[in-house]
């Protein structure tokens, strides 16, 4: 069994920027030395609602970028979709407000030891952790191609500085409002072929990741994905964010996405049994 991210700490961090970008908010936090411990794919758990709030659980957000030097020292950046009461509260905060953060949490994307041709696929604001990953891959001499998809143009998160770190960027929207009309999976086979892709990294809605795994499997590629499950704690103690995953010994276990994820080997997740306990799972009790 894996352990909690050994770098995780609980800190009060000051907001130094909070801007609306399309359908999302981009937030920058002064994070001190927490920033240098963050890797692409890690997430943070943020307390919401303030003292005495009726919202008692933290909200998990993928780290968009972390930088350990700059005007404010170390910073952590988040991309937040103000969908629920908690994220709306968070995006309504002002500069200099302080938020209670636990992080960095979870696993991170594995980086190839030799330069490889990588395809990064993001759905909606699932693109957030992929830009930091793209920078790391570029530094290691990898070719990096990116595909971002969403229902409409406003839900594509692709900031200018992010685009610099990729060799090519393909956009798909279901309504055709930007880029190619359709879903990310429609463009993947051609891109894999064209760029000689060896590894796929993905982040976004679970049905999208499941469809990417199917394509990746057929093409015989390595696929690292960041999964999404509702979490209560983010630190491995509540057992709510589980999904069926085959362990290295071949045994299917209900596995915590906060500790053994969010980044997982796509070929180990039992995609046709998401939200279920498949027959044969260790300790299956019907």
């Amino acid at each position: 069994m894996s352990s909690i991210n050994r770098r995780a700490q609980q800190r009060n961090l000051e907001i130094i920027s909070n801007k609306k970008v399309g359908a999302y908010h981009h937030m920058v936090l002064a994070a001190g030395d927490m920033a240098q411990h963050c890797s692409a794919g890690n997430f943070v758990a943020v307390s919401v609602g303030g003292t005495g709030s009726s919202m008692i659980l933290r909200r998990a957000f993928a780290i968009y970028r972390a930088s350990d030097r700059g005007q404010y020292g170390g910073t952590i950046e988040l991309v937040i979709a103000p969908q629920g009461q908690g994220s709306r509260w968070l995006t309504s905060l002002d500069i200099h407000d302080v938020v209670d953060i636990v992080g960095p949490l979870g696993t991170s994307f594995g980086i190839p030891t030799e330069p490889a041709s990588a395809l990064l696929v993001g759905g909606g604001y699932g693109s957030a952790p992929l830009f930091g990953l793209a920078e790391v891959l570029k530094e290691r001499g990898c070719r990096v191609d990116m595909v971002l998809g969403a229902s409409s143009a406003g839900k594509i998160y692709a900031p200018l500085e992010g685009k610099r770190s990729v060799n090519s960027l393909t956009i798909t929207t279901e309504d055709g409002g930007a880029g190619i009309k359709g879903r990310v999976t429609q463009v993947l086979p051609d891109l894999i072929e064209k760029h000689g892709i060896e590894i796929i990294y993905s982040c976004g809605p679970m049905p999208m990741i499941a469809a990417i795994e199917e394509i990746s499997f057929k093409a015989g590629l390595v696929h690292q994905c960041a999964v999404e499950e509702a979490m209560a704690c983010g630190i491995g103690i509540c057992m709510t964010c589980v999904l069926p995953v085959r362990d290295p010994d071949g045994v299917i276990k209900m596995t915590r996405s906060c500790i053994d994820g969010p980044v997982m080997d796509g070929s180990r997740v039992i995609w046709d049994s998401l939200r279920k306990v498949p027959l044969g799972t260790w300790g299956f009790d019907g």
């Binding site: 352990s3 008692i56 659980l57 630190i235 103690i237 709510t240 276990k253 209900m254 799972t281 300790g283």
Partner: protein
């Protein structure tokens, strides 16, 4: 000597065991202990009360297992866990090596399963007590929850007591979802319980009004968090009024020292923190230091001297 110059005594006692701190983690709310140890020293706790362990490994239920509710949450985990053998081989040695005192919570589907768990735990070095979680369906009685049936509750506790021996305190965790809690408490005390854990979660449900289905895969779930604290205060008050000599491990929505003190004044001898750990991994430390401050401010020189003070006329 003036009362306020005496050293403060934070200890509590269950059966033959004394614990140096009045704050425990509630069952199922501390992972294996390892995860929380990143944020707190486990030796600061009275004890880690482990997740409820069953005879065999359990996968737990499908997801969604959780839904946040106002000042609370519903959970339907299904007691996911490794089973007693792996638990004894891996979790327990780790906890003991890391200076945690341990109360092992056990759950069964039959009376014989509880007995067999008690036999496996008897003589395991380093354990400080057993919590008997009887909020489980009894497969021998049409799935009726043991804790809702005074006779079944009594039989479980008798069989655990018979098999565990005389040294380890046996704390029985009761459900508030019953008509006459005092009657059930009376049965388990008569059967040999050294202490009671009050309260387990309340059965609740939430429906997603967009997809028009229950939010939890298991349909219903256990409600916990500050929303249930008044129920905990009531339950502890009623049981303490009826059985003054039986120590109670009080729990139910405790997130601050003030909350802990309220349960102690109702009759709890010690406090377990559960759901608050999910929102704040250092919650137990805050609850402990705030509680001791509040007690000192009120002129108490021990936790024990404040237990049940709300009952005084």
């Amino acid at each position: 000597m003036d009362k306020q110059y005496q050293a403060f005594d934070p200890r509590c006692r269950f059966g033959r065991k004394s614990f140096p701190s009045p704050i425990f983690t509630a069952s199922g709310c501390a992972g294996s202990g390892k995860e929380l140890s990143q944020f707190i020293g486990l030796d600061e706790l009275g004890a880690v009360v482990t997740k409820s362990i069953s005879v065999k490994p359990r996968s737990g239920r499908a997801t969604p297992r959780m839904a946040e509710t106002p000042s609370g949450m519903l959970n339907s985990i299904g007691l996911q866990g490794p089973g007693i053998d792996q638990f004894l081989a891996e979790d327990i040695p780790w906890l003991i090596a890391n200076d945690a005192r341990v109360i092992v919570s056990i759950s069964g589907e039959t009376i014989e399963e509880y007995a067999s768990l008690a036999r496996k735990l008897r003589g395991v070095p380093g354990i400080s007590g057993i919590e008997v979680n009887i909020s489980c369906p009894n497969v021998e009685n049409r799935g009726m929850v043991f804790a809702c049936d005074p006779v079944a509750s009594k039989l479980v506790v008798e069989s655990v007591r018979r098999n565990i021996g005389g040294e380890l305190p046996t704390i029985v965790k009761l459900s508030p979802d019953v008509t006459d809690l005092v009657a059930i408490a009376g049965e388990v005390i008569a059967a040999g319980a050294d202490g009671l854990a009050l309260i387990n979660t309340l059965l609740g449900m939430a429906i997603d009004i967009d997809n028009m289905r229950p939010k939890l895969a298991g349909m219903t779930g256990g409600l916990s968090g500050p929303a249930i604290r008044p129920v905990a205060v009531r339950a502890i008050y009623q049981v303490h009024a009826a059985f003054k000599g039986i120590p109670i491990l009080g729990m139910g929505g405790v997130a601050s020292g003030r909350d802990a003190l309220e349960l102690i004044m109702a009759g709890a001898s010690a406090i377990a923190v559960g759901t608050a750990n999910f929102g704040d991994p250092t919650a137990v430390i805050k609850v402990k230091s705030e509680l001791i401050e509040l007690l000192k401010e009120r002129g108490f020189n021990s936790v024990a001297s404040a237990v049940g003070v709300a009952h005084e006329k």
